[in-house]
Amino acid sequence: MVGNCDLRESKAQVVAIGSFNPLIFQPHWLAQAGLIGDAELAAADEGNGIELMHREAVIITLQRLRLTVLPERFMIESVEPPLVGVKDFAEKCFGLLSHTPIKQIGLNFETVFRARTREDWDALGDALAPKQPWQALLGDERSGGLVQQTMERGKRFDALQGKITVVVKALEPREKMDTSVMVNNHVDLPENSTGDTLVQHLQAYWDTDHARSEQITNALQELTRAR
C-alpha cells in the first residue's frame, strides 16, 4: 500500500499521431488479424461495442479495450486491467500496418486513487501547491484547494526526442476525494517513421515508460499522509 490512499483504477493508452484510415478497423479485420477473440467478434456482429463507424472516426469498445481511430490519431486504451493488453494490441496491429506513417507516439498511464481522510487529501494538495502564497490573495479559510496541476519535463530520460508530462487532477465529485495522475510519455519520431517504428518503440520502451510512470504515481500517492 502506498500512502494513505486506496487504488481505484489503473488505465493505459497507446496513442499514435500519423495518418490512418479509420474504416480499416472493422471487427472482422480485427478478428482475422487475431486482435480480438470470437466472443468479441460475435458481440460486434450484433452491434455491441460499436459506438461509431465512419470514415472520419471509429470508436469500438472491446472486452477490455477501447479503440478510437481518427484520420490523424490512433488510440487504444484499456477499459480494464491488464494494462499490457494495449501494448499487445498496438504491437500486433502495427506489425500488420507496418507502412502506416506515424509522427508521434504517446504511452500514457493513468491511476486514480482515493485519499482515506480529508487531511490526507489536503496533504497531497499542500505538498504540490503550498497555500501560503495564496493566502494573501484568496484568504486563509480552508475551502477548495488544488484542482489540477501539470508538470512537464522537456526531454525524456533516454536519447529520444520527446517529453514527459504529468497531470494531477482532483476528480468530481470532490466528496469522494479521488485524484487522477496521468503520465504522458511523448515521443517525436524522425521523418518517415512508420508502424514498424511504433512496434520497435513498444518493444524497447513500454516496460521502462510503464515502470517510471508507476514510480511517479507511487511517489505522489506517498504524499497523501497527513502530518
Partner: protein
C-alpha cells in the same frame, strides 16, 4: 465532472485524452463536414480493399453507418458513456501454460509476480473452465496470460473479491522476422570474445 472542451494543443499531441472528451471534438468535426448522401462503405471499399483480408471485403460484414455526417454528429452527441462495474487489481502475475490435462480439467502454469518482481517464480494449477470463451483460440501449451486478483465494485459500491485469467494476444513472428533476429544474434555472437 462536466464534459470539458478539449484544447489538444495545450499538451503534447499524444497526451491522455478520454474518449468522452475526444467525442466533443469529433462531434464538432462531423457537424462541419459536408453532407454526403452516398453509402459510406463504397468509398471504404475503394480505399482499403487492398489492405483487408478477402472475407472482410464482403459488404455483408460491414457495419458502416449509411448516414450523412450531420446525422452522425447528432447521433454521437446523444451517446452517453455507460457506467460499468469496476475491477480494481490487487495482484497480477504473468503465466506461461506448461501443460494441459483435459481429463482432470486442469492446466499447469509457471508464474511470475508482476506486482512484486522480487517474489520467486511459482507454479500453479488452474481450472480449464477459468479460460474465458473469448480466449479459447489462444489456449495452448506455451501461451502467455495474466492472472489478476482484485475487487469488483458494482455501481452501488458493493465489492467482491474476484480473479481472472486474460490470455495475451501477442504478435506472432513469421519466418522473415525470425531469420532477421537470428542473423542479428549471430552477428552479436561473432563480436563477443570470451577470455
Amino acid at each position: 465532472m462536466p464534459a470539458e472542451a478539449v484544447n489538444l494543443s495545450a499538451f503534447a499531441p499524444s497526451a491522455w485524452v478520454d474518449v468522452p472528451q475526444l467525442r466533443s471534438s469529433i462531434v464538432s468535426r462531423l457537424a462541419s463536414h459536408p453532407v454526403r448522401k452516398e453509402p459510406l462503405h463504397t468509398q471504404y471499399l475503394s480505399n482499403a480493399e487492398a489492405a483487408l483480408p478477402s472475407r472482410a471485403t464482403d459488404a455483408r460484414h460491414f457495419r458502416v453507418l449509411k448516414a450523412d455526417a450531420g446525422e452522425l454528429a447528432a447521433a454521437l452527441r446523444e451517446i452517453r458513456p455507460q457506467a460499468s462495474p469496476k475491477f480494481i487489481p490487487l495482484n497480477e502475475w504473468e503465466g506461461v501454460v506448461e501443460s494441459i490435462d483435459l481429463d482432470e480439467g486442469l492446466f499447469w502454469a509457471k508464474l511470475k509476480d508482476r506486482t512484486d518482481p522480487t517474489s520467486p517464480r511459482e507454479r500453479a494449477a488452474f481450472d480449464v473452465t477459468d479460460v474465458s470463451e473469448n480466449d479459447h483460440s489462444l489456449f495452448r501449451e506455451g501461451a502467455v496470460f495474466r492472472w489478476l486478483i482484485g475487487k469488483r465494485e458494482d455501481l452501488f459500491g458493493g465489492q467482491e473479491r474476484t480473479s481472472r485469467l486474460v490470455f495475451r494476444r501477442m504478435p506472432v513472428y513469421g519466418e522473415r522476422e525470425i531469420k532477421a533476429a537470428e542473423a542479428k544474434a549471430a552477428l552479436f555472437a561473432a563480436q563477443v570474445t570470451v577470455e
